[in-house]
Amino acid sequence: MTSTNHAENTVSAAAGDGTVLDVADLHVRFPTDGGHLHAVRGVSYRLRRGEALGIVGESGSGKSVAALAVMGLLPRTAQVSGSARLLGQELLGLGDAAISRVRGARIAMVFQDPLTSLNPVHTVGRQIVEAIQAHRDLPRAAARARAVELLRTVGIPQPEQRVDAYPHELSGGMRQRVVIAIAMANDPDVIIADEPTTALDVTVQAQVLEALRAARRATGAALVLITHDLGVVAGHVDRVAVMYAGRIVEAGSVDEVFSAPRMPYTLGLLGSRPRMDAARRSRLVPVPGAPPSLTQQMRGCAFAPRCPLAQPVCRDTDPPPTGQGDGHTAACHFADRLAGVRPEELFPPALATAAVPLRAAPAAADGAPLLVAEDLVKHFPVRSRGLLRRRSGEVHAVCGVSLELRARRTLALVGESGCGKSTTARLLLNLIPANRGSVRYRGQELTGLSRARMRPLRSRVQIVFQDPFASLDPRMTVFEAVAEPLRIHGRFADGGPRRVHELLRLVGLDPEHADRYPHEFSGGQRQRVGIARALALEPEVLVLDEPVSALDVSVQAGVVNLLEELQERLGLSYLFVSHDLAVVRHVADRVAVMYLGRIVETAPVERLFTAAAHPYTQALVSAVPLPDPRRERWRERIVLAGDVPSPLDPPSGCRFRTRCPTFAALSGEQRSRCVRQAPPLVEQGEGHAAACHYARARNLLRGTSTDLGQEPTQWR
């Protein structure tokens, strides 16, 4: 489907003037206490009819602000200049009434968070009808019929009933599809989607991207897809623009930009992201440094301070976007030097850790079991509100999970939000009591230990949290944060300050900054502080709870490298909890996949990605977008129906059966087995076990054989 679409677009592009949206030299400034924040510094792009443009950038690159400026949705304090023409009509500077006539009719927007972009007190049908009637004189019944039709287009099952549902009765993925239905209600010429899938799980992301595609097909609208995820862009747009520090630094067709980037930053972005379809490379290639502060007046190229190619000319003059007439432009003085350069050649590999004297963990034979969990069960009571707080139900968060973490190995625990992976991590640390089951560390039972008995063991098993902004006490200096575990365990008196400085150096921070507060650091640096704190007590096991998922792509790589290096030098064992399969493939030795509180499949990492046996794992692997436009187009994709059922009332038998494509294809008799009997984890050989009655190994990173026939030579 994409390929035909693509062909049409090239035709219309060749035909010339099909421009629907023309943004030229857009600037946005916000007055702040610290001077003007120049969020968008001269953005220009053209969108042709029916075209899909991806705008990629990290947080703070100005990608959302630029879109909001076009929509006229910025706060009044923002100073906007430049021009944005929609079908020849200037949008910037329009009055409220005038822009309201355009907004929602000719140009529509899909926001990131479907929880807040729908009004909770009206039915979704009413909200769609409102959007239609705001711009068209349509009788109520006709508008309602149109709403049902729109819901069907975006793939909502039983639209006749759902049209009367309130937003809270729908899941996140469904709500986002309703938002898309509202956006397409008046057949707009342009739909701007601002991180439409960032708040959603991968399997749901696939559904929503599918709905966006359906919306484009039905309305013929051009799409601006704003995202930080190179993979999402690769499979769903025709052209891509990369933003950095408020400016488009590279633009071109997806294939061109991904295969032959001409701007060092783009190359860095591509190199810093681990790939799910490639076996573990030695190290990722992080982009050094951090984006510049936009409150300062900038001279020269904004990327120059981080760029290995930077010459004096880069610091003096800002390179204009230049191209070779093929529509592929880059703002770099040395764009032609990048031809055929791989990321690791451009960005010199550096050790992530500094040379400091290390005390390695006490010797444990490689691969000996360190932390063993058996049949863990955790239920959270749900209580009614009010004085009596009667128990009204139970969340079955973890149901019979068994894990084995081995010395110097990384076990990844993978699953979507709400599957119980973080609860499992906390059970392993004995941070919350288990309802049933046992956790043993080097043979010693942890469950049921008192706080006092647990304390000496705390130094052996430590945790790093997901959110580097919430996991450090904002009122403690970094020194205090790292010193705290030492103080608690009475080890501070013995050379404490020196040890803290050593730890900071170890994670790549400057000990000079020890007296700073967490808010003075960037996300990546804060995560390093969190790692230093976890290492303070010289643990043997680190539980990493989504350690990089809150970080920007170019920063992620540095933290992943640091973790890998620390593991090698200190002999650590990791339990790596994550929803990001690409990172997991890069760091893990073994993977366990969780769904609704149960482990559905566990296998050595290579086997899991090349021969997944459980239908859920297969769907997960196929849903993760790859940062490679060609492969994305030819890959077989399993889009799961529906959403994860409520853990308050999980389905009987196999918990995945309600969404399972294998189940759907079974005969009635075979199905009854799935309904009655929960499948146990069955060994498939080579340490690979899957909990499915009808398990069948498949490789979803290669295309299917028919795909191979179509374009066999395109992949390396």
């Binding site: 951090a290 430590q462 949290f465 919430a470 904002p474 200096t477 608690i488 400057d510 007296d515 700073r516």
Partner: protein, 310 residues
């Protein structure tokens, strides 16, 4: 202004000379707070005025010939003069002498109430919020019960039935007994919103005790709202003390407090303003300076507040 408000997550340049200049200031937290407080101009001015008020109240009586009691040598009912800068009362008090003693007693009561109620309320609220469940339910119901008791009636009832009920510390204790509840509610709210944060879990994972988590991680975050509530308590205590005196349960003649002075002079506001306005002025001064000092403290204690207010 050299310091700018730093955005959370704003990129930090790798090497920054000021950081080196600050040195290894991990023991310098107190010094840092003090420097930041010193930069708050209103707070510094208020602190100076407050210190002068305290000196006036506690050292003044040692230097001034007249105390707060009736003296036969004093001509009653005189307007301000060189001998009696704030005039004299009908009964033959020197008003300046009364002001000194009155400020002294009022400061004692107000500050004692503020310190006691804040300390007790903060711990009560933090414990309730941290442990939740039935501990929270029982503790907060107690707060609710105390809150619905009409303050003045209760204060008066207890004050009238306790021996020594008119000494300043008894008055302070009684007022404190009924005024810690607001602090407890404020602190509980802060603790409830913070206890699920990852940094609390991180401390727990490091093996920290409950006491350490409450004292080191949770209570410092309540500093802002608690300081505001505590400064309001100072004003509340002054007013309550005055009302008690008026009802005959607070500090009683021959002793004197600012509230009592105003009460005594309430008919003289227009005819003999020198009796009425000076104690009023001192009450306003105390409340205002305490408020500004509280503001300064709150800003100095919050590491994210790097803007300097003038």
């Amino acid at each position: 202004m050299s310091e700018l408000r730093t955005r959370p997550g704003a990129p930090t340049p790798p090497a920054d000379p000021p950081a080196a200049a600050r040195g290894t200031a991990h023991h310098g937290r107190l010094r840092l707070v003090l420097t930041r407080f010193a930069r708050h101009r209103m707070a510094m001015t208020s602190l100076a005025v407050f210190v002068l008020t305290v000196l006036f109240a506690f050292l003044g009586p040692l230097l001034w010939p007249w105390d707060h009691t009736v003296h036969r040598e004093i001509l009653p009912n005189q307007p301000p003069s060189w001998e009696h800068p704030f005039g004299t009362t009908n009964a033959g008090h020197d008003v300046l002498g009364q002001l000194m003693r009155g400020t002294q007693q009022t400061l004692r009561v107000a500050l004692t109430v503020s310190v006691l109620a804040t300390a007790f309320g903060a711990v009560w609220g933090a414990v309730a919020g941290y442990y939740q469940g039935w501990v929270d339910a029982v503790m907060m119901r107690a707060v609710d019960v105390l809150m619905v008791v009409p303050l003045l009636v209760a204060v008066a009832a207890i004050g009238g039935n306790v021996r020594g009920g008119t000494t300043w510390w008894a008055v302070a204790l009684i007022i404190a007994l009924f005024s810690w509840t607001t602090i407890a509610r404020v602190v509980r709210g802060v603790v409830l919103s913070l206890r699920e944060q990852e940094f609390v879990e991180a401390a727990r994972a490091a093996g920290a005790s409950d006491a350490r988590i409450i004292l080191r991680h949770l209570l410092p975050h309540a500093a802002g709202p608690v300081i505001v509530a505590a400064t309001l308590l100072v004003a509340l205590a002054i007013l309550l003390e005055a009302s008690m005196s008026f009802l005959g349960f607070g500090i009683q003649a021959p002793d004197i407090s600012l509230g009592l002075m105003i009460d005594n002079a309430r008919t003289a506001a227009f005819t003999r303003p020198w009796l009425f306005y000076p104690p009023g002025l001192f009450i306003v001064l105390i409340c205002l300076t305490i408020n500004f000092i509280g503001d300064g403290l709150r800003d100095a204690l919050d590491p994210r507040q790097t803007m300097v207010r003038r």
